[in-house]
């Protein structure tokens, strides 16, 4: 018989410091916390003692007690030995910030679970989302969205149309401008890749972009085009349906009225379903399978039972079944799935090491290998002229890393007579990071160099537009991949491809929101005032430019720094902009490992790159590779986390803002977010201590800059592969790989599957998703294939390496 004594349950919520994935645990008190495996909650970091702290029930209170830990247990930034906690309190153990809940709702939940609940399990907050396998939404070709204002009347217009978008006085233009100063055919907007191009058609009075008269110019969404007194802005838009030239012509709006926010360009869902379904899953922003564009909601799946075909239900597919299948089958030796930076690094190396173009196939959604990366950079406020957080000799276009981007910039600056910049960069690479800030390359220089390399190796000949849906082993030591393409008639074409060596590099499966913001978005369907930094959110900056307002920036790290920089730029033009920077906890001392401590500034840890530099190729790389799973988890937690770079301009913005009051930092966990009657968003910030009241903070917009990654199960192909072959996950829940990045459990006779990028974080290598890291992963994977005597592939020894470098230098095909 069970005793009727009250058992109190508590739920703790915290984040993995590296992947940002949220973890929860519901367990009866007492709950012990520490690094050792016998604790109720094991917290894997050097900064956590083996037996660190305990939560227990004593005299009607929930008590947190430190067990004599080395680095201490903190509540509201005070080191404690014993302290009663209340519902919603947070406390800090090493790099982990834990939220405590034990209210009636938790007790009910615990009771409901008790039966199935022999031992409390970790729950992952990110549950995989149903992914659209429906073929009915086709978002190609891309369109252009143009908004314009008649300065004379104040009327505004908004259209989305397929390019070319012609502008002029004549009625046959897409946009007719009723002004005498406009020429009959004044200008035209076209799409070149992802970019909008504006061409003046020899107009009498000229076309102006940001005040400068142009003949031809790239148009960014923030640019203002002036034609005969009309102000126009243009941005690329995904067409919601094929063939529709005019999608919407919004009613006019007068400036000065209630601040209306332009609709976001991410496709909003159709009318919400009548009874709004309860949010069963905590969803994320996922990349659309069809277009690769981040979407706030994925439409419900349209299940196509016929694809992948029925024989994919078996783990090993006999070749004869493929031959009899009505679905077209093609063959290749090397198959890269992803088509982004990871695929590019692998393919570049294969070609340099002797494989021919016709032996390789690449699937992707963007013809440019840096397409998605560039888009995410752009949305997170790194336009082409800004610098990336990447090292000078991490060159995706050159596997030797020489000449580095700094050398090339010095060379080009000298060529253009910009002696000042040449000297500055030289001094920077010489003195970094001791005497100067670390050199980082300009985004557009990297992208242009990659385009050049893509042309050199013939990337266009091996890249195919396609989405891989599932992978199976075949009975002849190869793999078959089911994939879909969209043909010129915009029909979905289902196909199979057989390959001996497969490389998986599909990038981040998605981006997760902070749970309170996700809850708000699902409840209110307001995707305009609460956004993620990686979404297109330029409407916020445009709105602020015109009307001013307060923006709440959530989270610390490099993305927050960029967004704050952008907001400060807007503020320089409209003084009515305020920034509220909200973080869970203040941070005064950085992370410690061995005898070194990471520096901090404005409550953010500083590090030139995402990881300590020796993780790419030094003592820390060796250490991680030699460590076991448990040790790797601990090392990654200590080296990673959210950090930002030390930059003078960012420091100045924050110092000035703090002094003048337009930039403020607040700490605490947000309990709830609500939409106010005045149209603003209010966040309930938990008070630091029990004596204080919780506080409502008002803002016009909230930008989530935490950059949390979604679990890899959001990717259909990976999830299916893990389930079918019962693959082992690493401690971060990602794909388990060998030191050569071979996916454990996927080898098939001579066939091999290698993986790279975010999906292997938690394995033998820390900077898996960096430029240089992807090149390292490609090097290990290809060297592994060389050892297997893969056809056409040769070892990259010194002679071949020198010869190939010379071909690179001359721009000749490898």
């Amino acid at each position: 018989m069970q005793r009727t004594e009250n058992i109190l349950y508590a739920r703790l919520t915290w984040q993995d410091p590296v992947t940002g994935e949220e973890r929860r645990r519901l367990a009866p008190l007492p709950i012990t916390l520490g690094r050792a495996g016998d604790n109720t909650i094991e917290l894997n970091s050097d900064a956590v003692s083996r037996q660190h702290a305990v939560l227990e029930y004593s005299n009607g209170e929930v008590m947190l007690r430190d067990l004599g830990s080395k680095n201490g247990t903190y509540v509201h930034n005070l080191r404690i030995t014993r302290r009663p906690l209340i519902e919603g309190d947070t406390f800090q153990v090493g790099p982990f910030r834990l939220l405590l809940e034990f209210g009636p709702a938790i007790q009910q939940q615990a009771q409901a679970r008790q039966q199935a609940f022999t031992q409390a399990q970790d729950e992952y907050a990110t549950v995989m989302m149903p992914v659209d396998v429906g073929m009915n939404v086709v978002e190609t070709p891309r369109q252009i969205r143009v908004r314009w204002t008649n300065r004379a009347t104040g009327q505004t217009y908004d259209i989305t149309a397929a390019p070319p978008v012609t502008i002029g006085r004549h009625h046959d233009n897409t946009i007719q401008l009723p002004a005498r100063k406009a020429s009959r055919h004044h200008a035209v907007l076209t799409l070149e890749g992802e970019q909008i191009m504006l061409n003046d058609q020899g107009s009498g009075n000229g076309t102006f972009v940001n005040g400068e008269r142009i003949q031809r110019s790239i148009i960014r969404p923030t640019d203002t085009i002036d034609i005969a007194g009309f102000l126009l802005a243009a941005e690329p838009a995904a067409a919601p349906a094929a063939g529709a030239a005019w999608v919407s012509a919004a009613p006019s709006r007068t400036p000065g009225a209630a601040p209306a926010i332009p609709a976001p360009s991410v496709p909003a869902p159709a009318a919400p379903p009548q009874p709004a379904p309860p949010p069963q899953v905590e969803s994320t922003l996922l990349f659309s399978l069809e277009t690769g564009v981040l979407q706030p909601f994925i439409p419900p799946p349209v299940v196509d039972e016929s694809f992948p075909p029925a024989f994919f239900r078996q783990p090993v597919v006999p070749i004869w079944q493929l031959q009899r299948s009505p679905i077209p089958v093609s063959e290749t030796t090397y198959l890269a799935i992803g088509g982004g930076l990871g695929s590019f690094a692998w393919v570049d190396r294969l070609l340099i090491q002797g494989v021919r173009q016709n032996q390789i196939v690449v699937f992707g959604l963007d013809p440019k290998p840096h397409g998605r990366y560039e888009r995410l950079c752009y949305y997170s406020q790194i336009p082409g002229y800004e610098r990336l957080r990447s090292n000078s000799d991490a060159c995706p276009d050159n596997l030797w890393g020489w000449p580095s981007y700094a050398l090339r910039e010095i060379w080009h600056s000298l060529g253009r007579g910009q002696i000042g910049n040449a000297l500055k960069v030289s001094w920077q690479v010489f003195g970094e990071p001791v005497l100067t800030e670390t050199y980082t390359p300009r985004a557009m220089d990297v992208f242009q160099a990659m385009d050049r390399e893509a042309r050199r190796i013939g990337w266009g000949n091996i890249w195919r537009y396609g989405t891989a849906r599932a992978i199976r082993k075949t009975d002849d030591g190869r793999y078959v991949v089911a994939y879909t393409q969209i043909n010129q008639r915009l029909e979905v074409v289902k196909q199979l491809i057989v390959a001996r060596y497969v490389h998986l590099a599909m990038g981040y499966p998605g981006i997760q929101f902070l749970s309170d913001l996700q809850e708000y978005r699902e409840r209110t369907r307001d995707f305009q005032h609460v956004v993620n930094a990686y979404e297109d959110h330029n409407h916020i900056y445009e709105h602020l430019m015109r009307y001013g307002g307060v923006v709440m920036v959530r989270g610390r790290g490099i993305v927050a720094s960029r967004v704050i920089q952008r907001l400060a730029e807007v503020r320089a033009r409209n003084q009515r902009v305020g920034i509220l920077h909200v973080m869970r906890t203040p941070l005064l001392a950085g992370h410690r490992e061995g005898r070194v401590r990471r520096k901090t500034e404005h409550h953010t840890e500083l590090q030139p790159f995402n990881w300590p530099k020796a993780c790419w190729g030094g003592v820390l790389r060796n250490k991680l590779e030699q460590a076991d799973d448990h040790e790797r988890d601990r090392l990654l937690n200590d080296w990673g986390g959210t950090t930002t770079a030390s930059r003078k301009d960012w420091r100045r913005i924050m110092d000035t803002g703090l002094r003048e009051g337009w930039f403020q930092q607040r700490f605490g966990s947000v309990k709830r977010v609500e939409r106010g009657k005045d149209g603003r968003v209010y966040s309930l910030l938990a008070a630091g201590n029990p004596q204080q009241q919780d506080e409502w903070l008002a803002a016009d917009f909230i930008i989530d800059c935490t950059g949390l990654e979604a679990a890899i199960d959001s990717n259909v192909l990976i999830k299916d592969m893990i389930e079918t072959y019962q693959l082992r996950r690493n401690p971060k829940g990602r794909l388990g790989v060998t030191s050569d990045f071979e996916v454990l459990g996927m080898s098939n006779g001579p066939g091999r599957v290698h993986a790279a990028g975010a999906m292997v974080l938690g394995g033998p290598y820390a900077p898996v998703d960096s430029f240089l890291g992807l090149q390292y992963e490609a090097m290990r994977a290809v060297d592994d294939l060389v050892a297997l005597r893969a056809p056409g592939l040769r070892r990259l020894g010194p002679l071949r390496s020198i010869a190939q470098w010379m071909r690179w230098a001359r721009g000749v095909h490898p």
């Binding site: 000799d393 596997l399 030797w400 890393g401 020489w402 000449p403 580095s404 050398l407 690479v429 010489f430 003195g431 970094e432 990071p433 001791v434 005497l435 490992e593 061995g594 005898r595 070194v596 401590r597 990471r598 520096k599 590090q607 030139p608 300590p612 530099k613 020796a614 790419w616 190729g617 030094g618 003592v619 820390l620 790389r621 060796n622 390292y776 090097m779 990259l796 010194p798 390496s801 020198i802 470098w805």
Partner: protein, 144 residues
């Protein structure tokens, strides 16, 4: 650079042997007026710099571990070059090392000899070495 101790030693050994050997031979030929017997002092100096360097490398590695990034900035490489050269010259000049009589080694010759070895190694390790050894930078300077 983010070297390991073994990487430092290997890189030092091979670059001293190849670049140091060639430069020392040239200096030696010039000093002996292109006649036999060759003046062997440059080779002795090279040997001493190399041997002391093995110890220096262990010290540098200790410094490296006190940096969060566990890296070796360019400026440190420059300072290390000055310190190493100064030590060897002072030892030869004031204490004397077997095989390298200070009379046979005026400061100007030492500076040219040591300076060109150091500069060539500095330039090569800053980049071009990676062209011949594409895995070198990922292995913390280890050659094999």
């Amino acid at each position: 650079m983010t070297p390991t101790l073994l990487g430092r030693w290997e890189t030092r050994f091979f670059l001293f042997a190849i670049l140091g050997g060639i430069i020392s031979l040239v200096v030696s030929l010039v000093l002996s007026g292109f006649k036999t017997p060759l003046v062997l002092t440059p080779f002795a100096v090279l040997g001493y710099v190399f041997l002391f360097g093995l110890v220096w490398d262990a010290i540098y590695q200790n410094v490296l571990y006190s940096r969060w990034d566990r890296d070796w900035p360019t400026i440190f490489q420059v300072l290390a070059g000055i310190v190493e050269g100064a030590l060897v010259w002072l030892l030869i000049h004031y204490i004397g090392l077997p095989g390298a009589p200070s009379s046979a080694l005026p400061l100007s010759i030492f500076l040219i000899h040591y300076g060109s070895i150091w500069l060539s190694i500095f330039v090569v390790t800053q980049g071009p070495l990676r062209i011949a050894l594409p895995r070198w930078r990922f292995r913390g300077g280890e050659w094999f």
